[in-house]
């Protein structure tokens, strides 16, 4: 970047206040792990400063060729992970509906049988020797991303006596400012476990839950190969910086 130009830039816009009705509360006793880990005091609220308007950036050149292909990125040469072959794709946009390019998206998931490759995991479903369960990508100039994987299985977990997680993929995202940092989970359209999951139900607004459910996308499904699911993600938007020489944020 040209130094003279960068010296004359206006400070980036502050973020739109977070709408907490769209998120779970910290304390959600139906999800028992939250009970001892939920702050009980109010958060301190203030308009974002430079410390939140800025954030780390990641270059496309750090990515390996198969980072976003979980079917082969952990597999032995010539082998593939077992399971229903899918592609998950979509756009990362902000609340102003602007695409967010250069977003590092990291994802992790259980294998087709619902088993994670993790030392604290105890479910009896078998590990797949060709499946690690980790991938990452960076959005392009249009905020677009995709990953190829196998559909994760549902699995039981110790909460209630008989709680099962719906099939899901964990997503972690970096926006342009650290205030946009987000971790969430993507579910699959039609899964009957979504409605009865205590973690999903930490969110009280049914419309908010619905926005975590990826849709089967037959238009992008590759015949005789893999089904596509569409999942768009919205990060916090920035306010306009009125009365500045240069507008940023919308």
């Amino acid at each position: 970047m040209n130094d003279r130009l960068s010296n004359s830039r206006a400070e980036a816009g502050a973020f739109i206040e977070r709408d907490h009705s769209q998120h779970p509360p910290a304390f959600a006793p139906g999800y028992k792990s939250s009970v001892l880990r939920a702050p009980k005091q109010s958060l301190i609220s203030f308009a974002s400063t430079l410390s939140e308007k800025t954030g780390p950036a990641f270059g496309h050149n750090m990515l390996g060729e198969y980072d976003n292909d979980l079917i082969i990125n952990y597999a032995k040469p010539g082998e593939e992970a077992i399971g229903q072959r899918i592609v998950v794709h979509g756009r990362v946009i902000d609340q102003n509906a602007k695409p967010v390019p250069n977003v590092l998206v990291e994802f992790w998931q259980a294998n087709a049988g619902g088993r994670y490759r993790h030392k604290r995991e105890g479910y009896r479903a078998p590990l797949d020797p060709n499946f690690g369960g980790f991938g990452r990508t960076i959005t392009d100039d249009d905020g677009y991303y995709w990953l190829r994987t196998i559909k994760p299985g549902p699995y039981p977990w110790p909460n209630g006596v008989n709680d099962w997680r719906p099939a899901h993929i964990h997503f972690s995202l970096f926006g342009t400012g650290f205030a946009q940092r987000l971790i969430s989970q993507m579910y699959f359209e039609g899964d009957p476990l979504i409605k009865i999951c205590p973690i999903v139900n930490t969110i009280s607004d049914p419309d908010a839950i619905d926005r975590l459910v990826a849709r089967l996308d037959m238009n992008n499904t590759i015949p005789m190969d893999l089904r596509a699911y569409r999942f768009d993600i919205v990060l916090r938007g920035r306010r306009s910086t009125f009365f500045e020489n240069r507008k940023e944020g919308n």
Binding site: A10, A12, R18, D19, H23, P24, A26, S33, S34, V35, L36, R37, A38, P39, K40, Q41, L43, I44, F46, T49, S51, E52, T54, G55, P56, F58, G64, D67, N73, Q95, A97, E106, F107, R117, H118, K119, R120, E121, G132, F134, H170, S172, T176, G177, F178, R181, L182, I183, S184, Q185, I199, T202, I203, A208, R211, L212, I233, V234, L235, R236
Partner: protein, 203 residues
């Protein structure tokens, strides 16, 4: 009736869960060979400017036990108070300083970041914030990533005029945001609940 404005709603947060390490620090948790090195291991490179410090601490739950399955991220300015970010409008950031770090807490429940002490950061419209490091904590049982800041015990004067500490002082919880410096070690324990509950931020 007026048509509502069409601003979108943020995607809801969900807990990072007990297997967050697969996604955040895969090599550390035996998902080897997918990526060459976990991200955020090194905040500083050789030749970094500023005072080298080690920021360490624990995350402690409401039962008084260290949270051994969380991941902690930090974000901070360089020694001159400039962020290494495309959204930083000032130039001159230290190229040997990324400002961003990520660690799983170890089996002893501790994080420890090898970094430098940041400079004060200006506030839009005038004034400065005292040197501080932003923390972000995710884990099983944390539904929305928890954000807080660590300030420095050896910055008493600057801390007095910091706008965020001023808010914490009004509710008599300022001390929960102060890392205690002893030589080049700064200790910052984060309490999720209880008498010493850390101040968390909505920003």
């Amino acid at each position: 009736m007026s048509k509502p404005l069409d601003y979108l709603k943020e995607t809801p947060s969900q807990t990072a869960g007990p297997y967050v390490h697969i996604g955040m620090t895969p090599n550390e948790y035996d998902i080897n060979g997918v990526i060459p090195e976990d991200l955020g291991l090194r905040v500083v490179s050789d030749g970094v400017k500023g005072e080298r410090i080690n920021v360490k601490g624990r995350v402690i739950d409401g039962g008084g036990n260290p949270v051994a399955d969380c991941v902690v991220e930090i974000w901070q300015a360089d020694a001159n108070g400039i962020y290494n970010s495309p959204m930083e409008h000032r130039s001159g950031v230290d190229p040997n300083f990324s400002g961003w770090g990520r660690q799983p807490v170890g089996s002893n429940g501790e994080f420890a970041f090898d970094t430098i002490k940041p400079g004060p950061v200006p506030v839009a419209g005038g004034g400065v914030m005292a040197p501080h490091i932003t923390f972000w904590i995710v884990a099983r049982g944390i539904n929305v990533g928890l954000q807080t800041r660590m300030y420095f015990s050896d910055e008493e004067e600057a801390n007095k005029t910091d706008p965020v500490l001023a808010k914490a002082r009004m509710i008599a919880r300022e001390k929960t945001l102060i890392g205690q410096r002893d030589g080049n070690i700064v200790t910052f324990d984060i309490y999720l609940q209880g008498e010493n509950e850390t101040v968390f931020l909505d920003v």
